[in-house]
């Protein structure tokens, strides 16, 4: 049976190979699936204040994610669908009839006018921030406060100019954050400067101003990572978001550091240390949280096994202890399995 299928696939691949001699590249299919178990040391799921990984003491679903991409000449498209808690209500808006989501993470078209200049339009994952929705794109399975409070998607139109392999610039017009349709018109302007000063080091300086979470505001973000040696990588994310109307909740500032070390070919250990400040609004004072997350990635082919321990602290006691009383600390242990194909 296996050889029969191998032969079928081989003949189909040969057909695809012949088709590749034209300017059309074949349809690309990729994706991931993930599942997790999390245990909150206070046995309270409300202690999870960041995105995803929300259940306590349960083998739970992440998402199944499938992406299609095709390029014909200078034009290409990407369509990415996701299903499951992480891929639906926890990351994309419920905008379809009956209060369900469209299941779309990315849906856009791109045109390469030249090798340096391209334009992209549609619904896209945000260019802001270090962490992303897909578990394949993050080292840690749980997410940071910076990720949770920042934009997830920016629908719009953008132009990118690549000056060289070391410098590129993007500028665009966008809808408000995390919506399929603009609620206040195409009223945000954004930009990204990418610099790669030395081999292995890439930095992105991002800015997005206009309609966003809580009204109109401006977010400035630095995202950078440096593969310093073959085994050691260091990442940094720092951001500041100010809403114009200071009486509205949602402004914040924070920074997170991501050192990672490969202890073996298949095993990498990483630490995320984060400081996050939710700024004051109206008569409500600011509040600050620090979080430390220790994570391992154990890889075998497409499968990554992710054990993780996380400790959060906020002296204003937003967490709960075992007896249900408010507490300044929270701790969680999780095990996740992510398969990328």
């Amino acid at each position: 049976m296996k050889k029969f299928l191998t032969a079928i696939c081989a003949m189909a691949s040969a057909s695809c190979a012949l088709a590749q001699e034209t300017t059309t590249s074949p349809l690309e299919i990729s994706g991931s699936v993930d599942t997790y178990f999390k245990y909150d040391f206070a046995k309270n799921p409300l202690n999870g204040k960041t995105s995803f990984v929300t259940d306590h003491n349960s083998v739970s679903l992440g998402m199944i994610d499938i992406a299609l991409k095709k390029k014909t000449g200078k034009a290409s498209f990407v369509g990415e669908l996701s299903f499951g808690p992480r891929g639906q209500s926890q990351s994309i808006p419920d905008a379809a009839a009956g209060g369900s989501s469209f299941n779309i993470q990315n849906l856009y078209v791109n045109y390469d006018f030249t090798d340096q200049f391209s334009m992209t339009a549609g619904y896209m994952g945000t260019f802001v921030g270090y962490e992303v929705i897909s578990p394949v794109g993050n080292f840690n399975y749980s997410t940071s406060y910076l990720f949770t409070n920042g934009p997830f998607q920016n629908a719009g139109i953008k132009a990118t100019y690549k000056f060289s392999d070391k410098v590129s610039l993007m500028a665009g017009l966008f809808n408000d954050w995390n919506v399929y349709s603009a609620t206040r018109g195409v009223s945000a302007i954004g930009g990204q400067l990418m610099v790669a000063p030395v081999e292995g080091w890439t930095a992105y300086i991002n800015a997005l101003s206009g309609a966003g979470y809580g009204g109109y505001g401006t977010i400035i973000d630095l995202t950078t990572s440096y593969q310093i040696t073959e085994k050691f990588k260091l990442g940094l994310n720092a951001a500041n978001y100010d809403i114009k109307d200071s009486s509205v909740q949602g402004s914040y500032a924070g920074a997170a550091l991501y050192p990672q070390y490969a202890v073996a070919d298949a095993v990498t250990i990483g630490l995320r240390g984060e400081y996050f400040k939710a700024k004051a609004y109206g008569t409500t004072a600011a509040t600050s949280t620090t979080a430390v997350t220790l994570t391992a990635n154990v890889k075998s082919g497409g499968l990554t096994f992710i054990p993780e321990v996380r400790l959060d602290h906020n002296s204003d006691k937003p967490f709960f202890n075992k007896s249900g009383a408010i507490a300044p600390n929270a701790g969680q242990f999780s095990l996740a399995a992510v398969y990328a194909f």
Binding site: A7, A12, E28, S30, M124, A266
Partner: protein, 192 residues
């Protein structure tokens, strides 16, 4: 009839699995793709000219000549390898290599070596990009956990390099001027 078709498919697939070739190793234990080709009708200068054209024109987006002499070319290059899922797939990584070409009258040789693998990962926009700029030598033993996946990488790399080698040999054997002249032939239906 269906059993005959099934037999042919099985026989074809067995033939396929037997044909998976592998890299040879050089004196230093590094993978090498090495070919010596007899090209008795062609002079050293013609071979060199065509090889230069191959590197600087045909493969200009993925190769860069480092040194050109009157008998040899040294170049560096990269090529993307794919992961196939049934009839579709996606880029899974890239292989960088060093390319050496040497020519004599009526004969030439070339080899590719110093293969480094850089894995790709899907970014936030659904595109595949390099996860690091530090490559892993293809000869490296990845350990038990990733042995299967690494074997697929090495096989994909070999297939791509082999295709490159065949394209290169075909290019050197082809007279571009005569091929261009052939394209201008037209057929007249007035006289027959």
């Amino acid at each position: 009839m269906k059993y005959i078709i099934l037999f042919l498919l099985v026989a074809f697939s067995i033939d396929l699995s037997a044909q998976q070739k592998q890299f040879s190793k050089d004196d230093n234990g590094k993978f090498i793709y090495y070919k010596v080709v007899d090209s008795q009708l062609l002079s050293k200068d013609t071979l060199l000219q065509r090889a230069k054209s191959f590197v600087n024109v045909v493969y200009k987006k993925s190769m860069k000549a480092e040194s050109i002499t009157d008998t040899s070319i040294l170049a560096k290059g990269t090529m993307v390898i794919d992961k196939t899922i049934l009839v579709a797939g996606h880029p899974s990584g890239e292989i960088s290599y060093n390319f050496v070409f040497e020519a004599r009258n009526g004969k030439y040789r070339f080899w590719l070596t110093d293969f480094l693998y850089i894995p790709y990962q899907r970014d936030r926009y659904g595109n595949f990009v390099a996860t690091t700029r530090i490559g892993t030598p293809l000869e490296r033993n990845p350990g038990k956990l990733n042995a299967g996946a690494w074997k697929d990488v090495v096989n994909s790399a070999y297939n791509k390099i082999d295709k490159f080698g065949e394209d290169f040999k075909k290019y050197l054997a082809t007279n571009r001027v005569e091929k261009a002249k052939k394209k201008t032939e037209t057929i007249s239906t007035k006289k027959w």
